[in-house]
Symmetry: C2
Subunit: 209 residues, 2 copies
């Protein structure tokens, strides 16, 4: 489709919207036309919310989670176990793990995964600060809670090596059958791994932790 | 997912993004996290482009197409046939029809379709101005180029009735088989209509207009 709207204003808004991930030219056009149909206040609220967020957002100095204070409420919660750190890719994963109510310790947000293809190297991530923190705070256990993907495994291995000189236990999330999924629909790789990593039978897995 | 990020800035940006059509809470969160990873300039460019577009965009006084001048370049093009108006739903459809290079006349952008379910009544659309324009400019043909949907057909019928007292020919886009599609994959409604509306054989349909 020819993107000649005779309006640099519209063309510019479409170009900026299309820079967002998962939003192509057609979707950007649809969003722009929607914004044009709304009250002016809606465009101002949206535009200003984006700018204000980017300009003023802060991160917890300790775990790098998003926080409006210097230290985030999770790090400040003295009922939590402060010798166990759960390492996650991003702030979304903190929420996902919190929603399980199983992890009682703190977090460390890496800000991404090592991915040479996307040009993300270990120095772009909060791995140095993790090492420092494990040493300084005398952390007893680091739980690697990264996605079971190529990038996640690479990052797991890199962090494991980085922490190997420290007296800390490094664990990772269990991999195996998804609860509630039929055996026949489990992919072969996961099924094979779950046989290799089979575990002693216990009925505690049916109880809430 | 619990949307408690401990950051009103992030929560507000997510809420505003999620107001856009087709963007839910999860996508809004993904977009917001993407914006946070980019340079500040990117958030400013995006936010300001949205605001500037909404504040300063103008519409052609004659056909209601988007235009940065009082009268759009199509209406101003004296090589076009100014007694034939193609009625379309929105500015995107102007582009789509222009890309066929078949329509030599002008346009009239309604700004939507009649849709009682969405609360859009004829008075919300540029139908009154169409009637006025047909009379004043002594238009000879109005081509209804609306989508073949319930809303499109309702709007077609409403406009047809509105213009019935004027000496203007009202036509609509042909409905039938899509060129290049296999007969067996054409839906039954379209196939049935294309039998009812069968037309004399001519090989001009294989030639460019």
């Amino acid at each position: 489709m020819d993107q000649n709207f005779n309006s640099p204003l519209l063309e510019n808004a479409i170009a900026e919207l299309a820079k967002l991930p998962g939003i192509g030219q057609k979707t950007a056009l649809r969003l722009a036309l929607h914004i044009l149909r709304q009250e002016k206040g809606m465009a101002h609220d949206l535009g200003n919310a984006i700018i204000a967020m980017r300009d003023n957002i802060r991160y917890c100095k300790r775990c790098h989670n998003i926080s409006d204070s210097e230290i985030c409420p999770i790090c400040n919660d003295h009922r939590r176990h402060d010798k166990v750190i759960c390492v996650v890719e991003n702030v979304k994963d903190v929420l996902t793990i919190e929603s399980t109510h199983v992890h009682q310790g703190l977090y460390h947000v890496l800000g991404g995964l090592i991915s040479p293809l996307d040009g993300i190297s270990p120095s772009d991530l909060e791995i140095g600060s993790l090492e420092e923190r494990v040493e300084k705070e005398r952390i007893e256990e680091v739980i690697l809670a990264l996605s079971p993907t190529m990038e996640g495994d690479t990052t797991n291995f890199y962090i494991f090596r980085k922490l190997s000189h420290l007296p800390v236990k490094v664990t990772m999330l269990a991999r195996g059958l998804s609860i509630g999924n039929e055996l026949e629909y489990t992919d072969e790789l996961t099924l094979g791994r779950s046989i290799q990593n089979r575990m002693p039978f216990t009925d505690s897995f049916n109880k809430k932790n």
